[in-house]
């Protein structure tokens, strides 16, 4: 029987939630790395026993962990992230030049084909790659050296590279997103990068349609249609049908189009999910009602999903990397909250139930669907 692992990164450790394909009874393993911030934990698509973890703390900085046995045991691997060449400067919050400084790894993206290859998106924004299972890291400097780099500015959460998407149909193509620079694409394996922000409109920057400067919160793609991208921007839900060359807004009838997460159904490329958040100053659901919104039309037409979710006095947030789907026949959808709940729907969002209720602040959720 198939099995599901939910990999949960929290403010105070990592947890692995395990169930069989029925997704009714769950075992909780953790906290792993207790007391440390776990920004992200993700398994290799090629070898699901190979897990990578970004572990950090305000005292001791960045640590990277790796497991070769699905999280039963862990090995500390390389944590030396050095920017290529002279780091240079980006803009600080007040517009003054600020030196590029490594702070932490936000997102880890293992290769689709080689368990020893993994990408790391870091703060201050840059993309690193390891070819030896995480022991050594090397920057792909073409991104940061894109002409716009000195003008990138941090968002409220820091200047983080938080989204990495690998194109399963083209090993040279990759998408990344940075708060608050925007989205970028490479078509040559990371040598050169192109900003893909045309069509985005952000009233909070001097030129609302600038080439860079947009606060992209997350991007999702269905592997069967790698040229179609869905974006939750600071405000606005967007889609692109041409690999990011042009975006159009699909917020439609959402009650608020601010939010952090966005994801795509495992088997229906036009079914997408967001969790609307009231505003950029009030990071909680509208009216205290936690509602996932689903569109079966690739955006514009949205329906609230509420069954099993708190519909009063709920003031949690759902952070950008804290939603994922499984690949079982009936697609499961998962998300974690800043209140420590991890909710699961075994039926594509129709019904929800908490797997756990009282974890530390959930920073990230990933799902492994195992045979």
């Amino acid at each position: 029987m198939s099995k599901v692992h939910v990999l949960v990164g929290t403010r105070k450790g990592a947890f692995i939630l395990t169930s069989d394909g029925k997704r009714k009874n769950w075992e909780v393993s953790g906290p792993h790395f207790a007391g440390w911030e776990i920004y992200h934990m993700k398994g290799s698509p090629k070898d699901p026993d190979r897990l990578y973890v970004s572990q950090s703390s305000g005292w001791s900085g960045q640590v990277m962990q790796r497991s070769n046995d699905g999280g039963a045991t862990w090995e500390t691997v390389g944590n030396k992230f050095v920017y290529d060449g002279v780091p240079g400067t980006h803009q600080w919050y007040d517009g003054t030049p600020h030196p590029w400084e490594f702070k932490r790894a936000w997102h880890l993206e293992p290769s689709l084909t080689d368990p020893d290859v993994v990408y790391a998106g870091v703060e201050d924004a840059a993309l690193f790659r390891s070819d030896d299972g995480g022991h050594n890291w090397k920057e792909l400097p073409g991104l940061r050296r894109h002409g716009s780099g000195p003008h990138w500015q941090p968002g409220a959460g820091g200047m983080c590279l938080h989204t990495i998407i690998l194109d399963p149909s083209d090993e040279k193509r990759m998408y990344i997103a940075i708060s608050a620079a925007g989205a970028f694409r490479t078509d040559d394996g990371g040598e050169t990068w192109k900003p893909i922000n045309q069509g985005l409109r952000s009233q909070y920057i001097p030129d609302p349609t600038a080439e860079v400067g947009h606060c992209v919160h997350h991007i999702a793609m269905h592997p069967a249609r790698p040229g179609v991208l869905f974006m939750q921007k600071h405000w606005d839900v967007m889609r692109s049908d041409n690999a990011g060359d042009l975006w159009t807004e699909v917020s439609g009838n959402l009650p608020t189009d601010f939010g952090f997460v966005i994801d795509v159904h495992a088997h229906e490329p036009e079914t997408i999910y967001v969790v609307p958040i009231k505003s950029d100053s009030e990071h909680f659901p509208l009216d205290g009602k936690l509602r996932v919104y689903r569109s079966r039309t690739g955006g514009n037409e949205w329906e609230p999903l509420t069954k099993g979710l708190p519909q009063s006095d709920c003031y949690v947030n759902v952070l950008r990397d804290a939603m994922a789907v499984d690949r079982l026949d009936e697609c499961g959808v998962y998300f974690g909250t800043t209140g420590g709940q991890v909710y699961m729907s075994p039926d594509a969002g129709d019904n929800w139930t908490p797997i756990v209720r009282d974890l530390p602040v959930v920073l990230s959720v990933e799902v492994q669907t195992l045979p």
């Binding site: 007391g35 005292w59 001791s60 030396k80």
Partner: protein
Amino acid sequence: MMVRVALPAHLRVLAHVQGEVKVQVDGAVTQRTVLNAVEAAYPMLNGTIRDHTTQQRRAFMRFFACERDLSHESPDAPLPVEVAEGKEPLLVIGAIAGG
């Protein structure tokens, strides 16, 4: 010299040790030589006490010994004799921050 080092709890977990660690230091006993020995014995601690590249103390890590705060001493200054002789540990402390 066998030098005693007390690590903070989160680094003891990372290094898979309990209690104090003891490291062999040849020559002058300084912050630098002691930390070099600690990192050689426990490579998973590389970068967690001092920066990989600059070798400077991380901002929220402090060094105490013999009831003195040595955090702002030169990394090449001799540590107290009691530390060099193994009578007292070098305390690596995570600063109290954040409430």
